[in-house]
């Protein structure tokens, strides 16, 4: 996945443990299939767990994934 910017501001990426990447300052996010998704909010969350139904955005499903993993390890 890559992101593109048009305006002269810096793009920052913040990693959330067991969660998404927070991206600020990007204009578009281009997914694996090459489709561009417009960024319409000040900060977007990109799915890292591969289970989101709103990919490339995170939809909170990673919490279910981590909870299942926690249960398996118990």
């Amino acid at each position: 996945m890559t992101w593109r910017r048009r305006s002269p501001r810096s793009v920052t990426v913040t990693v959330c443990p067991d969660g998404p990447l927070l991206v600020r300052g990007a204009d578009e996010v281009i997914d694996e299939a090459g489709v561009a998704h417009e960024v319409r909010r000040p900060c977007v969350a990109l799915c890292r767990c591969g289970r989101s139904s709103l990919a490339p955005w995170c939809d909170g499903t990673h919490k279910v994934v981590t909870e299942e993993a926690a249960k398996r390890n118990r």
Partner: protein, 341 residues
């Protein structure tokens, strides 16, 4: 909006707000509050009283002088109700807060753990699979108390926070208010959902039929937002609100579609899945973490605010499900009687 109908001696004593006089009879109201010995949390009359006193700071009432907002008598009465309300909220959440306090773990981990351990009644599942059209309308009526002023209570906290915590809160709130597009404001999206479902989306239209437990959830946010002293609780409350949103909203959207309402009606819920997946991270990892590291004295209240959000949401979910499973309306007057005509 006009001042709501009284529900008991406290709101009865507040009817004088309708008169040209901007004061209220403090002794009269405090006596009515003191004569109520069971919890205010469960009292329709007290919660409506608090709600209308707070509402003076939001949109106000057509039949109340706007100067009443800062009338010393009105503030005195509100303070009298708030002291008991806050004490009850602290008692309600004491065990949960103590369990998470003073443990050597980052505040973000403790907050996420609080959410994932929460075992509130499963309202979202019911909405997805079973809710009827009338019950959905009732749910929207309940939710309209907060959602038509969505984000406003936490915005009070902006000037009360500093540095990184303030920046994080502003980023969330800007998005809540449509990120520069009036049509995308979350309160506007909610109003559109109400309209699509044939409901009146006028601000405050249904307050007269909403039970105290739903008003209490809104009142807690106003309490936290309006007191600088409680800024930690405002931050914690918002964090819990955002972090318990994505999965339920996905189910709500599915329920709305199951009942045959289209994408326009479901859009409010769809938007919250995407937006709150961002907001929960920003609220917990950035806003609450920054606040606790910059102002460690706020830590207990961050937990208190978060636990209050979960407790009151859980209480409301339980009451709604009890009513509906028992074949009853969850409003003070059933939806059919409210139909326009």
């Amino acid at each position: 909006m006009r001042l709501p109908e009284p529900r008991g001696p406290i709101t009865e004593a507040l009817q004088s707000l309708r008169c040209a006089d901007i004061g209220v009879a403090v002794d009269h109201v405090t006596a009515a509050v003191d004569s109520h010995t069971s919890p205010l949390l469960d009292c329709d009359d007290a919660q409506l009283a608090l709600w209308l006193l707070y509402e003076l700071h939001y949109q106000g009432f057509d039949d109340v002088d706007p100067r009443a907002e800062w009338s010393p008598a009105v503030i005195a009465v509100r303070g009298h109700l708030e002291r008991r309300f806050e004490a009850e909220l602290r008692e309600l959440t004491r065990v949960e807060v103590e369990k998470r306090l003073n443990i050597e773990e980052p505040i973000a981990d403790r907050l996420f753990a609080m959410m994932s351990d929460d075992d509130s009644p499963r309202l979202a599942q019911y909405v997805q699979r079973e809710i009827t059209t009338t019950q959905l309308h009732e749910l929207l009526v309940h939710r309209s108390v907060y959602h038509l002023k969505e984000a406003d209570p936490h915005t009070w906290a902006v000037p009360r926070l500093r540095g990184r915590a303030k920046v994080a809160l502003m980023e969330i709130q800007f998005d809540e208010y449509g990120a520069g597009r009036a049509g995308d404001m979350h309160s506007t999206l909610f109003a559109r959902t109400m309209t699509r479902c044939g409901l009146d989306s006028t601000y405050g239209a249904y307050v007269d039929v909403v039970p105290g437990y739903t008003l209490a959830a809104s009142n807690a946010m106003s309490l936290f937002g309006l007191h600088r002293r409680l800024r930690g609780a405002a931050a914690g409350h918002l964090a819990a609100f955002e972090a318990t949103s994505t999965l339920p909203n996905r189910r709500y959207a599915a329920g709305v579609r199951r009942l045959g309402y289209g994408d326009e009606a479901a859009r409010y819920f769809d938007e919250h899945v995407e937006a709150d997946a961002v907001h929960e991270q920003v609220a917990i990892r950035e806003m609450c973490s920054a606040l606790v590291s910059d102002e460690p004295e706020c830590e207990p209240d961050v937990l208190f605010g978060a636990a209050t959000c979960l407790a009151l949401d859980g209480l409301a979910a339980g009451r709604l499900l009890d009513s509906w499973r028992g074949g009853r309306s969850a409003l003070l007057r059933p939806m059919v009687e409210l139909a326009p005509g």
